[in-house]
């Protein structure tokens, strides 16, 4: 234990470490990006709009939510609302991350833009701490994968066929599972995880997409027992 602590103190984590940690997710992110590009072609978005969308929004779940509502004839306001709901998880995730970022409010708000699910999860250091260089570094390969995937999908990625065929949709939950296993070494986190699982399972069939994960954050209130 002491050995681990002194090693990490001697080698502080760098952006390079973050990039390396994010690399395994570049390929699955690229494939999801391809499927976004392909999907936008089926609803007549043309070439430029989906590429710009990935550049300025950079959030797979929000982009799919928005474009499918719009493509289904739902109108701009419901489309944006759907995206906002899906991304509302960044409110509790950002609250957790905030104390670990640098500088004043504006700078922290800008650094918070590096937040994507997988990077946030890799940057978790336990006890409410996050590694800032890991967060920002790990987002870079996913950003590249997302942009490249979108372009490939727009320019004829339907050659790939159904991406689910490759089982890549299981990679992200498996990845989060690996990181949760580390968190659960802290025994106090076990009842929190069980309650979060129950909340999410109960809400997935009845609540709009995105809301169950936000509601799962409420399980963190069990932490008050330890305060």
């Amino acid at each position: 234990m002491d050995g681990d602590a002194s090693t990490s103190a001697a080698h502080p984590e760098s952006f390079r470490d973050g990039v390396r940690a994010g690399l395994p997710l570049a390929l699955p992110t690229l494939v999801v990006g391809v499927s976004f590009g392909v999907f936008t072609q089926s609803i007549g978005w043309g070439t430029v709009a989906p590429i710009v969308c990935s550049l300025v929004v950079f959030s797979g779940s929000a982009q799919f939510a928005m474009s499918s509502v719009l493509g289904g004839g739902g109108g701009v306001a419901p489309a944006v609302l759907a995206a906002a709901l899906v991304n509302a998880r960044f409110l509790p995730m950002g609250l957790a991350l905030g104390p670990s970022l640098h500088g004043g409010r504006l700078r922290r708000a800008i650094e918070g833009q590096a937040m994507v699910d997988a990077s946030w999860a890799i940057a978790v250091r336990g006890e409410g701490q996050f590694s800032r260089p890991i967060l920002i570094g790990a987002t870079l390969p996913q950003w590249a994968g997302w942009q490249l995937g979108t372009v490939l999908g727009v320019l004829g990625g339907d050659a790939l066929g159904d991406p689910d065929r490759y089982g890549l949709d299981a990679v992200f939950p498996a990845f989060f599972l690996a990181l949760l296993a580390v968190e659960l070494r802290n025994r106090r986190a076990i009842p929190v995880a069980l309650l979060a699982a129950a909340i999410t399972l109960a809400l997935v069939p009845v609540a709009p997409v995105g809301l169950p994960v936000v509601a799962a954050a409420a399980a963190a209130l069990l932490g008050l027992r330890d305060a």
Partner: protein, 101 residues
């Protein structure tokens, strides 16, 4: 077409604001022990929510499909101390195999 561009622009702003609110609100000052205790538990709570939603959720319904096998197989690989990359490959390959059956 202008509808698409409007939706893209507003969604980009909304996404950026949602990511900005938490970091802007918290940090730069000492938090109360109660707030710190809750924030420390946000990671396991949200990770669990993401796992369950990504494994069982499908456009607002509960769907039991090959992803469950993939995630469970990755869990076994991790329990056997497999490296992260191997566990992720196990998840993808086992899910793809079940779908190919």
């Amino acid at each position: 077409m202008s509808e698409v561009w409007l939706a893209i622009g507003v969604t980009a702003v909304v996404a950026a604001v949602l990511k900005a609110i938490g970091p802007a609100a918290v940090g730069g000052r000492e938090l109360s022990p109660r707030a710190t205790a809750v924030i420390a538990m946000l990671a396991p709570a949200l990770l669990t929510g993401l796992i369950v939603a990504d494994t069982f959720g499908a456009e607002g319904t509960l769907e039991l499909d090959a992803r469950i096998v993939g995630v469970a197989a990755a869990g076994v690989a991790l329990a056997l101390r497999a490296p992260m990359l191997v566990a992720l490959a196990v998840a993808a390959v086992s899910t793809a195999l079940v779908r190919a059956l």
